[in-house]
């Protein structure tokens, strides 16, 4: 593979910035974020964004299948296919997809979440044809045979042990989500239940593959140094003959409203207690989401945030604490967590944490705090767009979360800017309530001893 010097035109483009800053916030250069959409007859959606600033590209495939589409007894299948897609097709043997990408100087990987499964190759720009061919091949001709799926099943089982069963935080988060959702598929873990992983059968795997791995259930996103027309021709060439399938049936279950706090006392051989709590929030496309994201920043981004300042700094009840959002297509999750410092009662930490949230519902934050949160969100947004990988991912996630409206990612800074003080207070008061809360507490079997004098007094 030959890497040629950048042509003059490319060098000139470097001086057209993607983002400029104005008093009212970041202004994106719309020409550099103009996504070209092309749809194949078989329903495959193609989204293309040229950027010639470096001779690389990212090729990402989003399949609209995640743990949300699974059923009891076969949980974890979406994630399992993320692994199986590397285990060989008609044309290539097990792991050869990865081997070929590497031999051409590229890197590939994949990841699975509640609503989608995503695959990607980051590679030199002269290898677009190679990756289009490889991705089309495994979409159309995956081989599902016991010789590969049995060892892969063991690997995924070990993955579950490593991430969840042998990891306290992994276990606690699983306890929160499984308790929060009584009906909706978000209630089971993305990696699946251990007994399901050990039990999947060949026929179930084949059925899952043929249902969801079809062109009309997927989107190809390419960002980087390529020519749009050439890319369309290549993708037409390699994907054009793959037949469409029936549109997959979407899960219909709606999680019923929660009418009271759910509490789980999680007893483990541990010494230091941990509190994790989850709240139901609306789906990512809902109009209250920007205000919830602002609230999350006010609560927990940076050492001047409410949670850090009060719990870690001023009252010193926790060694670590914070909060985060899982934005999901269907109603999602807002989580908060806190550790418990030695010599402090768990109840005190819990009270402090929940009082901070109640305070946000009862009293408006200052204009300055609101502006700080908006600045943080905007700067996160810009930093995400720095790499071609990040840009493709922003488009892909918007596609999934906003039900196809991928261009909405460009509006995010404006949506944050529009959030008012009243909005923050209202969304906290609406969603982060005791009745809507699921609280999981790690109760240590062997609690740590009270601190020694030297520690509390400190110093010399």
């Amino acid at each position: 593979m030959t890497r040629c010097a950048l042509p003059l035109l490319v060098l000139l483009l470097l001086f057209l910035p993607l983002v400029v800053w104005a008093d009212e916030g970041p202004i994106l250069n719309p020409e550099l974020l103009q996504v070209t959409e092309h749809n194949l007859d078989n329903g495959l959606q193609v989204l293309l964004l040229e950027d010639h600033s470096a001779p690389v590209l990212t090729y990402q495939v989003y399949y609209r299948v995640g743990s949300r589409h699974e059923k009891t007894g076969t949980t974890g299948l979406a994630h399992f296919f993320e692994h199986m897609m590397f285990r060989g097709s008609t044309k290539y043997g097990p792991e050869e997809h990865d081997h070929i990408v590497q031999a051409h100087g590229g890197y590939c990987n994949a990841n699975t979440w509640y609503d989608r499964t995503a695959y990607y190759e980051n590679i030199a720009s002269d290898q677009l044809e190679l990756v289009a061919h490889l991705e089309a091949e495994r979409l159309a001709n995956l081989q599902i045979v016991p010789e590969t799926f049995n060892p892969e099943r063991q690997i995924v089982y070990e993955e579950r042990l490593e991430r969840v069963d042998n990891n306290l935080f992994g276990s606690l988060i699983e306890q929160v989500t499984t308790t929060m959702f009584q009906a909706h598929p978000y209630g089971w873990p993305v990696v699946g239940w251990g007994s399901d992983i050990l039990g999947w059968e060949q026929q179930e795997l084949e059925e899952f593959y043929h249902t969801y791995y079809i062109p009309n259930n997927s989107t190809v996103i390419v960002v980087g140094d390529f020519d749009t027309q050439e890319a369309i021709e290549l993708i037409e060439h390699y994907y054009g003959d793959i037949p469409a399938g029936p549109d997959p049936i979407q899960p219909r279950t709606v999680e019923p409203e929660q009418h009271g706090e759910r509490r789980v006392m999680f007893h483990r051989p541990a010494q230091v207690p941990i509190i994790v709590a989850g709240y139901h929030i609306p789906g990512a496309a809902h109009e209250d989401m920007p205000a919830l994201e602002v609230a999350q920043k006010i609560l927990s981004d940076g050492r001047s945030s409410r949670i850090y300042r009060t719990m870690i700094y001023e009252e010193q009840v926790s060694p670590y604490a914070g909060g985060f959002i899982y934005p999901l297509r269907d109603p999602g999750i807002f989580m908060v967590y806190a550790g418990v410092n030695m010599g402090i009662e768990t109840e005190q930490v819990e009270t402090t944490l929940f009082n901070l949230i109640d305070d946000l519902a009862n009293n408006p934050v200052s204009e300055e705090e609101l502006q700080k949160a908006q600045n943080q969100l905007e700067s996160d947004f810009i930093m995400e767009l720095t790499t071609v990988y990040g840009r493709a991912r922003a488009i892909g996630e918007a596609l999934i979360l906003y039900d196809g409206d991928y261009n909405r990612f460009i509006n995010r800074p404006a949506e944050y800017r529009a959030v008012t003080l009243e909005d923050v207070q209202r969304v906290i008061g609406t969603y982060l309530t005791e009745r809507n809360r699921t609280t999981v507490i790690l109760v240590p079997d062997n609690p740590a001893p009270a601190p020694s004098m030297g520690m509390t007094e400190g110093g010399e």
Binding site: F15, Q102, P451, G458
Partner: protein, 485 residues
């Protein structure tokens, strides 16, 4: 410590780490290019952007790496001294000091620093590793001067307030206790002393509960004054800022820093401890065994051997890329989600370590397979096909490691930290040097540097199940969690 792990876990989603298998492509009359054929290797010099290097009178070295697509700048000040410079009876001192830097200067309180940075949506952090210490900030270009002045203030005038020392002490002690609740953390914390013995490398970065309880403000200040001198520092500024504008401000804020003397370290290279020793830590509730195996091998900068070693380890042990460890232990046998063999990066001798997690029942099998793979590589060497593949991957992805100016600036600092005197030359010639490695070279390196008989082991899991499996690998010492408290 803990919170970082939690966040990284949440953000990681669920990744696959694919490994390759040498499989035969089926013939087909579809006119697809022969992608399985060997690939032509490009070993031309990597093109670097226009990097400007400057030095102030007080010895501070500065690198400016431009990028103008996104209005973001990263400022990173690296001190080329870390935990290796700890007094032997005060493990964790440099790490503790590094964490305190952003928590107060002569003119700003900890909260003022946080407020200022949080308000503009930027970040600022400080810390220390085994090899270096740092202060870093990433901000939007419009806030560059504010951030630069803040980084300078934090690096030059930290005040180490007593109350901040006590806050961190309390937090650190709880976190250390919490680490004993997690098998992964226990293995990570116990491995250093088992590999390096009585040496600054033989402690966790954060030190021990006893050392953290005993730090005095005087000791913290003395450690800062010894390490934080401009003649031992490299400042890297990368992103959307013209270097001339940046340099004018750097001169303004950093020129008053007293030159100082570069610190010396009192330590010799760590001893090579006897192999075949096993520390088995009993965690009766462990759902999996955490396995660590390692031996002291070489400094990160190993001179002429470096390139052959890296190619050899690409084929043997470095995770996720079709190496022998992953191919056999993960893909074929399904024993683990991931197994990784790496040289720990140290200025003095680092260790070659293999790490993996596996079910309690299969830990012995995993260790046995790892040792056998090493013996096979030593006896039979690698194949020409493996060599070509490793080179193609290493050479092809090398330029992608420097996609952002921040990556490049950090790499310059890292190379200097490990005493590679000409980072630009190192990066430019890297691909040609990798390409020059021969099969003979890698096989010779494998015979010399893969040392299965020297492995020392730390295993955390259910001792009752593990002990009978481990006996064939050496002498076992069993400890309980209570013993570690």
């Amino acid at each position: 410590m803990k919170s970082y792990k939690l966040l990284s876990m949440l953000l990681a989603v669920v990744f696959v780490l694919p490994a390759f298998d040498v499989a035969l492509a089926q013939t087909d009359d579809d006119p697809v290019p022969a992608y399985t054929a060997p690939v032509e290797l490009d070993d031309s010099p990597v093109e670097l952007p226009n990097i400007t290097r400057k030095r102030l009178r007080n010895g501070l070295t500065i690198y400016y790496v431009p990028q103008h697509e996104v209005p973001v700048v990263t400022i990173r000040l690296l001190i080329r001294a870390g935990s290796l410079y700890n007094p032997i009876d005060q493990p964790g001192l440099t790490y503790f000091m590094g964490n305190l830097l952003t928590k107060g200067t002569e003119t700003r309180s900890a909260m003022e620093i946080s407020e200022t940075m949080d308000f503009v949506g930027g970040s600022i952090s400080s810390g220390a590793g085994y090899n270096g210490s740092y202060v870093q900030s990433t901000i939007l270009t419009r806030d560059f001067e504010m951030a630069l002045e803040l980084v300078a203030d934090i690096a030059m005038h930290p005040s180490f307030p007593e109350e901040e020392i006590e806050r961190d002490r309390r937090r650190f002690l709880t976190n250390m206790m919490a680490r004993l609740d997690d098998a992964y953390d226990i293995a990570e914390d116990q491995l250093p002393s088992y590999l390096y013995g009585e040496h600054p490398y033989g402690f966790p970065l954060a030190g021990t509960p006893a050392s953290v309880e005993a730090f005095t403000r005087d000791a913290i200040v003395a450690q800062y004054e010894r390490l934080f001198v401009p003649s031992n520092a490299v400042l890297a500024i990368s992103g959307d800022i013209p270097w001339r504008d940046a340099h004018q401000l750097v001169r303004q804020y950093f020129s008053d820093w007293d030159r100082g003397d570069r610190p010396d370290t009192d330590y010799e290279n760590p001893e090579h401890l006897e192999g075949g020793q096993i520390l088995l830590i009993d965690k009766p509730d462990a759902a999996q065994a955490e396995v660590r195996m390692g031996y002291v091998l070489s400094p990160y900068n190993m001179g002429e051997d470096l390139y052959a070693f890296r190619v050899m380890n690409q084929m043997f042990g470095t995770g996720g890329f079709g190496c022998r460890l992953m191919l056999r232990v993960r893909s074929e046998l399904g024993l683990t989600y991931g197994i990784y063999g790496n040289l720990t990066a140290r200025q003095m001798e680092g260790a070659y370590t293999v790490e993996a997690a596996t079910s309690n029942e299969t830990a012995g099998q995993l260790i046995g397979e790892t040792i056998q793979l090493m013996r096979d590589a030593i006896a039979d060497g690698f194949t020409e096909e493996e060599l070509q593949h490793a080179k193609a991957y290493m050479m092809g992805t090398y330029p992608m490691q420097y996609e952002t100016p921040e990556d490049l600036a950090t790499q310059f600092q890292t190379l200097l930290m490990f005493n590679f005197d000409d980072p630009a030359e190192f990066i430019e010639t890297y691909r040609a040097r990798i390409n020059a490695v021969t099969l003979e070279d890698v096989n010779e390196i494998a015979r010399r540097m893969l040392q299965p008989d020297n492995f020392r082991y730390v295993v955390v899991g259910q001792a009752e199940i593990l002990q009978p499996q481990l006996e064939e690998f050496g002498e076992i010492e069993v400890m309980t969690i209570e013993d570690l408290q």
